[in-house]
């Protein structure tokens, strides 16, 4: 994005809905619940909202949410590029606010994938047999997304000697953070041995290398930096933002599968923000699978390529470790309602506001959020700061 837009908007309200197993509520209702809480957090009212950015597993999300909340927005966006969509919506909100198309942007997400059982077996809805995916992927019984990450893990192990123990370190660090987060879904202690003894799903990935399956919703409110000054919460500014897109589940033409497009995305976000990796206090990475965190840390530049396994060893990502990563407990332990991008940003905002209690990273001033979408089809990086 144009560097002149750095610090032009702030995230001023964040909230999650009920999280975990939430039977009896629809994804839309969870979005509504989160939206009202996020607006209250910001000190704004529904009547202030004039931009709606939403996605769900369903269609026409921004219109569904607008109607449900009684809004009459003048700008909407339902772009769905998988798990990173809400981070992308922050960028869309920046652009829309800069262009004068809206002033108060409400971003929502919700899913009832646990109660629906809609993620069972890794199948994704709307797989039509004449699409590239329908013709060249689905007949082979490939699990998605886990099968792709399993293939990346296999390649990482082959090339760099990464081990299942390294992968397990990521899951254990996430659980240790979750133990400090009252809102996390899984908080009981776990060990490297327990993770490594969990059943194989797609070799080399095991059940505990995978994110949770939960219900839940989330919402954020984005306004101009100017407007943010008089609101209830200290503004969390968007310093840098970038996105890149390449695939739709069919990465046949990709060069190196360990070079998934994170690096150029992060580079652009850092350039816009005018900060470096050394400046970052807290990192939130979409952790659908343990290998994804190792891979992202390398591509984001927090360690050298191939050294991700060593980098995460000995609790380096856990509380008290050298780099605080996924301080909510992440998708691996906090919760994972369908797509996690929203929750990556919510936790970053809370850390920067200093409201994380026991899990608070001291003096957190700068946070990096990263999420891919549809396996390694696309990427978004946001750099947030106070």
């Amino acid at each position: 994005m144009n560097p002149s837009l750095s610090r032009s908007v702030a995230i001023v309200g964040v909230a999650e809905s009920d999280l975990g197993k939430v039977p009896g509520k629809s994804a839309l209702e969870l979005q509504g619940q989160a939206a009202l809480l996020a607006l209250a957090d910001a000190g704004l009212k529904l009547a202030d909202v004039d931009g709606v950015f939403a996605h769900t597993d369903d269609r026409f999300s921004s219109l569904q949410v607008s109607e449900f909340l009684g809004l009459r927005p003048r700008f909407v966006d339902s772009t769905n590029v998988g798990g990173m969509s809400n981070l992308l919506h922050v960028q869309r909100a920046m652009a829309a606010i800069a262009a004068g198309m809206c002033e108060v942007a409400l971003i929502t997400y919700g899913s009832t994938q646990l109660s629906d059982g809609s993620r069972k077996g890794g199948a994704v809805a709307a797989d039509l047999p004449h699409t590239p995916r329908g013709q060249f992927i689905l007949p082979y019984g490939h699990l998605s997304p886990i099968g792709y990450y399993a293939m990346v893990a296999q390649l990482h192990m082959h090339r760099y000697g990464t081990t299942p123990h390294d992968l397990a370190e990521v899951a254990v660090a996430a659980r240790r953070w979750a133990q400090l987060n009252p809102k996390a879904y899984r908080r009981e202690p776990t060990s490297l041995d327990e993770v490594m003894a969990s059943p194989l799903v797609a070799e080399p990935l095991r059940q505990r290398d995978c994110c949770l399956v939960t219900d839940g919703g989330g919402a954020m409110v984005v306004v101009s930096a100017e407007r943010a000054r008089d609101l209830r919460q200290p503004p969390v500014y968007v310093l840098g933002a970038a996105e890149t897109h390449a695939h739709h589940y069919t990465p046949f033409n990709t060069g190196d599968w360990l070079d998934t497009g994170v690096a150029p995305t992060a580079e652009a976000a850092f350039a816009m923000a005018g900060v470096t990796r050394e400046d970052i206090d807290v990192v939130q990475i979409y952790d659908h699978f343990t290998i994804g965190v190792i891979q992202s840390l390398e591509e984001l530049g927090f360690c050298k390529r191939g050294e991700g396994g060593a980098f995460v060893a000995d609790g380096a990502l856990a509380p008290g470790g050298r780099l605080p990563v996924n301080t909510s407990g992440g998708g691996l332990s906090y919760g994972h309602p369908g797509m996690f991008g929203m929750f990556v940003a919510i936790e970053a905002v809370r850390q920067l506001r200093g409201e994380c209690g026991e899990r608070q990273v001291p003096d957190a001033r700068l946070a990096l959020c990263h999420a891919p979408g549809l396996v390694f089809s696309c990427n978004t990086t946001l750099i947030l700061g106070v």
Binding site: G134, G141, V201, E203
Partner: protein
Amino acid sequence: MPEPQRPLPQPTDLTRPYWEAAAMGELHLQRCGACGRWQFYPRPFCLACESGELHWQRASGLGKVYTYTVNHRAPNPFMKARLPYVVAIVELDEGPRLMANVLGATSADMAIGRRVQITFEPVADGLALPQCSLLADGAAA
């Protein structure tokens, strides 16, 4: 009890030559007349040079395992009966990569770099899936 249905491809005009060749036990891929590159999956133009001058040509059917996984869970009842099974990304000697099951292989047989041969698994009337099998060890590239 009826046998569970496998998800099957539905060819389009663009991809039909691939599937028709597969049904006859041959791997045919698009090749660019302008730059000479092979490509998969089919497009109406060359991804490398944007030329529209694409021809279907028979490929060697040889390649190596770029990466793979062994499934212990299946996305549908048909594949469940085959567990555990191998899903691989095969890098063909011509360059393009495609997905296939490594038929008859176990986890212990598999390694990145192992040489494979494309085979064909009949799945319906007039429809066969390109699959692959491991070539004798020592052929690892």
